[in-house]
Subunit: 184 residues, 2 copies
DNA sequence: TGAGACATGTAATCGGTTACATGATTCC
DNA sequence: GGAATCATGTAACCGATTACATGTCTCA
């Protein structure tokens, strides 16, 4: 089995974490349960099969640590192909569809882009992200305006929530851009 | 087949929309594609099977409109059981797990709670929501503080993003509470 | 000696995604 | 006549959830 061509969000999280240091399935579960890292299942039924798939695809390599002890750990490392696919996944352009449908994925990508692709790429990522968000907000605003007549009070509040959430994303991006720009 | 006991987010969206007016699968798809209502698949492969399941569970009833025309529509109505289950689903208490894992679901519930359960229940919902968010933010802040040492610059920014997103939710909830309170 | 953390897995089920498939109606 | 919209579906695949299953090690 080889070459599933797209990395799911969970696979991305796993590859990203393993790229920072080799980890076992248990280690990954611990990260997912004890930190607010994305919001991943952390159930063994999700992560062990995911690791198996990544290994079958040759993106990670498992090595048994403590072979002859009674409690061995299978520790995974990024392969060369794994690194390539991770870099490729992180390099994908930020589209308006991402903003609408996959904001979580974008936020997960951010720290990995920083750590792996470096400062300049991160700034570019944030600038495009910001630009896409700023382009999306007016269409939400328009929806809200059209809604005001319909006397759907609660629907309007919900729309307002959406708009404010995106505004919060935008403010965050602007501030991070400012702070990173100083480092250049 | 009967009695799957929990309504998925998609089922909730469908029941909620149908409760406002009877709708066909195509109508539902249109809502999902043309409005920023939650972020649902809107693919026929998701919604038609979902409607079938809800009908098998006796939560909606489909009736063919335009029987003898060449382009009939199957229009679904909420059944009594469907209404009950919807009310029950909307009445579930807001837990800290919801805040962490299912924020989308909560925001989807909000307008339906407003329209179906009424003003008082909505206020209660928002107050508990706000309280849970306010209880959660400090733990995120703590995580961020512990992170500062580790020189994981980008990770810290990502955490900051999480905190600010929850703060935005909290601000929204506070403002809506204020505005609804005036209506009492 | 028992609780809790360490450690890895499988099996059944369920439902979402993608892609395919079909045909009618409306409007230009 | 052709494009867009109306309208409903199926089939293959994939992966997440839930629950089950097993055993070790450490520390109080």
């Amino acid at each position: 089995m080889q070459n599933r061509n797209n990395l799911s969000t969970l696979s991305l999280a796993i590859l990203g974490l393993i790229s920072q240091r080799p980890m076992s399935g248990y280690d990954l579960r611990k990260v997912f349960t004890t930190t607010p890292m994305g919001h991943f299942s952390s159930s063994p039924g999700a992560i062990y099969p995911a690791l198996k798939r990544l290994e079958a695809d040759n993106l990670v390599a498992g090595e048994i640590e403590g072979k002859n002890t009674l409690r061995p750990r299978r520790v995974y490392t990024l392969t060369k192909m794994g690194k390539e696919r991770l870099v490729q996944r992180l390099s994908e352009p930020v589209t308006s569809e991402d903003i609408i449908w996959r904001m979580d994925d974008l936020i997960l990508r951010f720290p990995f882009i920083g750590n792996i692709l470096g400062l300049e790429k991160t700034l570019h990522f944030l600038k495009v992200l910001l630009q896409q968000i700023e382009a999306y907000i007016p269409s939400l605003q328009e929806h809200l305006d059209n809604m005001k007549d319909e006397s759907s009070l609660y629907g309007a509040f919900a729309m307002q929530h959406g708009i404010e959430t995106y505004q919060a994303h935008a403010r965050w991006a602007r501030r991070v851009i400012d702070q990173l720009q100083d480092k250049l």
